[in-house]
Symmetry: C2
Subunit: 363 residues, 2 copies
């Protein structure tokens, strides 16, 4: 990762978290458990890639970084509520290396309210649902701050919010719903999903929000309410394609990464039977014996450590990892020409370094 | 209920539902189950009191009804997502006389996806969480339509949305969270909650959103972005106090109403142990024997029909019902002077009839 990008991300992380911390909306997060539930993920260490991309996009079109900060905080909170609700749905225990919101609240229900195990579980889920709802609303207030605090044209803010609350959320939740449906289909079988299905889901779950981050920053930077503006669209397509590449790389790290940088146990994607292009390609190239073995381990919550290691070996051996790597590279290649409509600048260089980081990162 | 109010509500119900039906945002509700989940409550019969109040408030301050219709649709959808998430939390089966969203989706998981019982239950919950999220977002798009389609000053729309997404949602969810916490405390006891606690919760869960409906309509009608405008505030306080009275009356109907108009089984408030001012007053006036009996039935899911009937008798006999009736009347009396800053008009008359209906309705 380029030194400039590292420095930029560090500085923006600070700016964004500082901006979120001073939000007066927090006084409405009551009672005490709700305040903890709403703010917990927000103040944990995170890369803040989406909001940083929003700020780069604003800079690319001549906007001051400063005026993009509230919207950057908005996209971070929007991402956060989707994580909180997804974690309930996926019944995950860890997020960013610490307990998920529903687990955290389950614990507080036990210690503070003296609830029994079953009730504490319900309590954790209930508070987490409502905490995500508040984060969603909080996100919208940040986009409104763009106008009220930074003087962004109100029509620009309204168009950005309308796009987020219709196109973006619709596609994102479509992706999550299809993911839930696929996850509940009883067996993994190379026949019941296509590679196209998987990649479409990655785009829905990740590419769309990256595309929106670029688009919103570009609109604020240029001061236009036109979501079809050729430069706005160029940046949107660029960041959307890079976002899809990001998620493909994420699937690779889910197999090859380590627990500390992942923030979740190694092998969990394998034991959960997550349907990725890695799995798809490996099953396609497997002989009968390998296929039988893979299908016996994928989605098996009690799979042994050595079986998981053998699956990792087969994912490499059967071209699953390399194939996914080249798919990700393909999306970056597809993204690059969209920046032709953008003049050279420090911010364009940052976007290009960021694109490179999307497929070369190991965390 | 006055004939004029009946006619107004009928007409507005039609206008609001028609406006919702033509929303182009619906094309993003995918896959098919998600479309069904998001739209099901919306198209069921309902009184649409909150959006109607918003339109009356707009009229009171000289605005055309037409320009308030998108915001009216917005407040209806905002109310709707809170119902969908509350129904998951309360594990309710019926809403407006038909299955709740999570039950509906549980059924579809079984029939369409051939899921087993446990998985279908998870599926129902998952889709319902996400459906509420989309309704929340859809609600915001309607408030934005006020500007884009009806020419309302964009700063007015931004201030309305900001208030909804901070003050309103914060208080509403605080009420719901405290309700969850109270509901999980192991026993009903006249000592572990005060009448003030209960009434504050009614205000949080209902009064705040009615206050917002009046306020938003008044701001649109007057064309002001000032939430502290004396007329805006007058209407807000009026509708907020009437909203609290509405909920007190709702608790009375929960005991004395019939299943058809309630849309839920008779006695369910008693079997769930719902903490109301009726319960509070009855326990306060009960002798030891009556108190022991009440505490044995309230919150007992398997209470017999005759025990439930005996509780209803005691609620009457021990002044629970009449006391709550006069509390509700008190809130209407408190509300009325707030309308002194509003000139006489057909719309003011409608608001006054509506206030009267709040405490005299039997459905």
């Amino acid at each position: 990762m380029s030194v400039k990008l590292i420095e930029f991300l560090k500085e923006k992380e600070k700016d964004i978290v500082e901006y979120i911390k001073q939000s007066d909306v927090q006084k409405y997060f009551k009672p005490a458990h709700m305040y903890d539930a709403v703010t917990s993920y927000v103040y944990r260490n995170a890369k803040r890639l989406r909001p940083s991309v929003l700020i780069m996009a604003c800079g690319c079109l001549g906007g001051e970084e400063r005026i993009a900060i509230p919207a950057a905080a908005g996209v971070e909170l929007f991402h956060t509520w989707t994580l909180v609700h997804d974690d309930i749905i996926d019944n995950d225990s860890l997020r960013r290396g610490e307990p998920t919101v529903h687990r955290l609240m389950q614990g507080m229900g036990k210690t503070d309210l003296k609830l029994n195990d079953n009730m504490a579980k319900d309590y954790g889920r209930d508070v987490a649902i409502l905490a995500g709802d508040i984060q969603h609303a909080w996100s919208v207030t940040f986009f409104i701050d763009s106008t009220i605090k930074m003087g962004v044209d109100p029509l620009v803010s309204l168009e950005i919010i309308r796009y987020m609350e219709s196109y973006v959320i619709g596609n994102l939740i479509c992706g999550e719903t299809v993911d839930v449906q696929l996850g509940m289909s009883s067996t993994i079988d190379s026949l019941n999903f296509s590679e196209e299905d998987i990649i479409n889901m990655l785009w829905l779950k990740t590419g769309v929000l990256y595309g929106f981050s670029g688009m919103a920053g570009a609109m604020i930077g240029k001061g236009t309410a036109d979501i079809n503006d050729v430069q706005v669209n160029g940046i949107k397509e660029f960041t959307s394609n890079c976002g899809t590449a990001f998620q493909l790389q994420d699937d690779i790290l889910g197999i090859l990464g380590n627990e500390k940088t992942l923030g979740k146990p190694i092998g969990s994607d394998i034991r959960e039977g997550k349907k990725t292009t890695i799995v798809y390609q490996a099953l396609k190239n497997a002989n009968e014996e390998e296929k039988t073995f893979l299908l016996s381990v994928l989605g098996n919550k009690n799979a042994s450590e050595s079986d998981v290691q053998k699956v990792v070996y087969l994912f490499n051996h059967l071209d699953g990892i390399n194939h996914t790597k080249s798919l990700a590279e393909g999306y970056i290649k597809k993204a690059l020409p969209y920046l032709d409509v953008i003049e050279d600048s420090m911010y364009k260089d940052l976007l290009l370094s960021w694109a490179d980081f999307m497929i070369n990162r190991d965390f």
